[in-house]
């Protein structure tokens, strides 16, 4: 019994490892290309080992003689905007999800329905009215002009997700606190939020990724080149009329993926726990 179980486990592991390696091949292709000399990039038969290897493309993307080709500043912008957006989303979503899960009041179901409904509208159509609004606020080419709309885009999803989780928290804890004389804000901050760390972490990660990779909104909302976030800056590596320079493009792609990967590895446990609890009990 034991041996067959062990053999079975080994077999599955082997299959999974092979699958995982195959799964990574396209990503490996990106990495390998970023390290090849330009004249070796487009070759048939395909070459998987970059030899001779070069860091020239990374150098080009980070330290190019052309100011506008460097992505260092764009990295900073993306980080500020993404972290800012996460902060705003997590705060506002949590505060909004709590009463929707726990309190009874006029308009509760209508508000929730409105939020969920808004998830179904494609962003493209909101872009232009949003642009006019942001311009009137004087927020074009500013960090807040990026952070606030990005947060607004993820807000409804955040409320949806968090409300799920809040519904699963045993109400006894909150009732007990209420009897002890705690007001709603204290219950929220001292009981509900600490218990929700996993799902808050999960929301943070998804909000981060959403803000990190958004291209369309920053494209029209930013007019100063040194305020561009990463996706817009990386688009400039692409040649005009499809004459692509794969080396810098792939180097830029690798660099751009790193923060997200780090965030994933660090918060891996948190996501697993967080999503599990909310999705399960929903």
């Amino acid at each position: 019994m034991d041996r067959s179980a062990r053999v079975w486990r080994l077999l599955i592991t082997a299959i999974m490892v092979v699958l995982a390696i195959a799964w990574l091949l396209p990503a490996v292709w990106v990495l390998v290309t970023s390290l090849k000399l330009t004249e070796n990039i487009v070759r048939v038969p395909p070459e998987w080992i970059p030899w001779p290897a070069t860091l020239a493309h990374y150098g080009e993307v980070l330290f190019s003689s052309s100011r506008t080709a460097r992505i260092g500043r764009a990295f900073l912008n993306s980080t500020v905007v993404s972290l800012g957006s996460v902060a705003v989303v997590v705060l506002t979503s949590a505060m909004a999800a709590y009463p929707l899960a726990r309190m009874r009041f006029r308009g509760r179901d209508a508000i929730f329905a409105l939020l969920v409904g808004s998830l179904m509208i494609p962003n493209a159509v909101v872009l232009v009215p949003q642009y006019v609004l942001v311009q009137r606020l004087g927020w074009l080419s500013t960090y807040q002009g990026l952070i606030v709309p990005e947060a607004a885009m993820t807000f409804a999803f955040g409320v949806f997700l968090l409300r799920q989780f809040f519904l699963t928290i045993p109400s006894e804890l909150e009732d007990a606190a209420r009897i002890d004389g705690a007001d709603p804000w204290q219950i929220f901050t001292r009981i509900v939020l600490p218990l929700s760390q996993p799902v808050l972490g999960a929301l943070a990660i998804f909000a981060f990724r959403s803000a990190w990779n958004d291209f369309l909104w920053p494209l029209i909302a930013v007019n100063k080149p040194d305020m561009f976030p990463l996706p817009v800056a990386l688009a400039l590596l692409r040649g005009a009329y499809a004459a692509e320079s794969y080396g810098p493009i792939m180097a830029g792609a690798v660099l751009s993926a790193l923060p997200l990967l780090i965030v994933f590895l660090v918060a891996n446990r948190r996501i697993v726990e967080g999503v599990r609890v909310s999705a399960l009990k929903g």
């Binding site: 048939v44 692409r238 009329y241 004459a243």
Partner: protein, 423 residues
């Protein structure tokens, strides 16, 4: 200081006046030095071209003191952004766009017309330019732009592929086809396995409208009839072109699949004859590809060459800042005076005639070919519906290319769609 009442003697007065005058003059000079504005400039020169433009702009700033805040955006996105930003008065002081975009932007009020008096005062004259590029900036009798350079088509021939197919001369130089039949015959000899004989387009040859337009013009056809009101794609001359478009894939079978990356195929030595844009050749040299440049072959009645000049233009502003406008003109003037540098480094032939006799340029075989085609240059029709018509054309010619739809039906359908475009 000690005197409560300073006595104004003539001397003192003169001294004071002199001091005052000096101060005023110094102040004015400082003010005018400070008055060099910074202008914003949008263009679509991403990738390698962008770096070269950056160098030139830096040189411009060093020589004139005018700073330029450049925003580079991929062409398609640039036009969307212009359309959103200019009406909101957030547009740039100067923009570089394609000739075919001028009519619809002009008719939408996105661009400002350039008065003839100003244009000639700044030193821009018709005789300095090639006619097709000078005319390209006009729409309904008004000038909206000044041309910078002329991206165009040429025929790239892969030395390696032709040698392997036995189509190179004793000196190792590939044979250059003169007629359509020669081209097809050689292409058929080349095509075997994963190697293809002939293709038009950088990527996605199936929907490469620029190539399709090039062939249309060679056959005397065009997207619109001469009156620019009805589509000319239902004409027999257009149909012939559509049938050829289908034939190279389905009948002669010398062309790669509709979504192949022809540029990569050429670089990898899997494509023999490649009609594509002149903007590719600097990249080919960087990738160390062995190739020969030749003029676009005469596949139909004339050896017409498709071009799409880049044009300098002034997006509309609610209130025009005179200093900034002058600075923008100064840039156009400077770039035009230094366009030979742009040509040499970015590989884009100038719209101005003068650099064409620059020995550095005529010494390069590729430039010789490009310049030699000047008499055959043609560009898109000056109608605001050109771009929309082009967008409609893409999926239709792709269907023809893959053999999904017969040429006659497709062209008829496309002509109907184009005629249905609202004004």
């Amino acid at each position: 200081m000690r005197d409560a009442t300073p006595r104004l003697t003539r001397r003192r007065f003169l001294e004071g006046a002199a001091l005052g005058a000096t101060t005023v003059t110094l102040g004015a000079r400082r003010a005018s030095a400070q008055a060099k504005p910074t202008i914003t400039y949008w263009n679509g020169l991403t990738g390698a071209d962008g770096k070269i433009m950056d160098e030139l702009i830096d040189q411009f700033t060093r020589e004139t003191g005018i700073r330029m805040e450049q925003q580079r955006i991929v062409w398609a996105d640039l036009y969307a952004k212009l359309q959103v930003a200019v009406p909101a008065d957030e547009g740039p002081d100067l923009a570089l766009i394609h000739t075919v975009e001028v009519p619809h932007f002009a008719s939408d009020g996105i661009l400002e017309p350039m008065a003839d008096a100003t244009t000639s005062a700044k030193g821009f004259k018709a005789e300095d330019y090639l006619p097709s590029t000078w005319q390209g900036g006009m729409y309904q009798g008004k000038r909206y732009s000044i041309a910078l350079d002329v991206p165009q088509h040429l025929l790239y021939i892969s030395t390696k592929v032709l040698k392997e197919a036995g189509l190179a001369g004793a000196d190792g130089k590939p044979k250059i086809p003169g007629t359509r039949d020669e081209l097809l015959a050689m292409a058929k000899q080349i095509t075997k396995g994963d190697t293809y004989g002939f293709s038009i387009g950088t990527t996605n040859p199936g929907r490469y409208t620029w190539g399709f337009h090039n062939l249309l013009w060679q056959n005397g056809a065009n997207v619109y009839a001469a009156d620019l009101k009805k589509s000319g794609l239902g004409e027999p001359s257009a149909l012939e072109v559509a049938e050829f478009w289908s034939a190279i894939q389905n009948q002669h079978k010398v062309a790669p699949p509709a979504n192949a990356n022809c540029r990569d195929a050429f670089i990898a030595g899997k494509l023999g004859f490649w009609i594509a844009g002149s903007w590719n050749f600097t990249g080919l040299r960087e990738a160390k590809v062995e190739f020969v440049a030749a003029p676009v072959p005469k596949i139909f009645k004339q050896a017409t060459v498709w071009t799409m000049p880049h044009q300098f233009t002034f997006p509309k502003k609610k209130a025009v800042d005179a200093a900034k406008r002058d600075a923008a003109w100064a840039h156009i003037r400077w770039m035009s005076d230094h366009v030979a540098e742009w040509t040499l480094k970015a590989g884009q032939v100038s719209a101005l005639r003068k650099p064409h006799s620059d020995p550095r340029i005529t010494g390069d075989p590729v430039f010789r070919v490009l310049l030699g085609q000047a008499a055959q240059w043609q560009s898109g029709q000056p109608t605001p519906k050109w771009v929309a018509a082009e967008n409609l054309t893409r999926p239709v010619i792709e269907n023809v290319y893959i053999g999904q739809k017969p040429a006659a039906a497709a062209m008829g359908d496309l002509a109907r769609q184009i005629n249905a475009l609202p004004d």
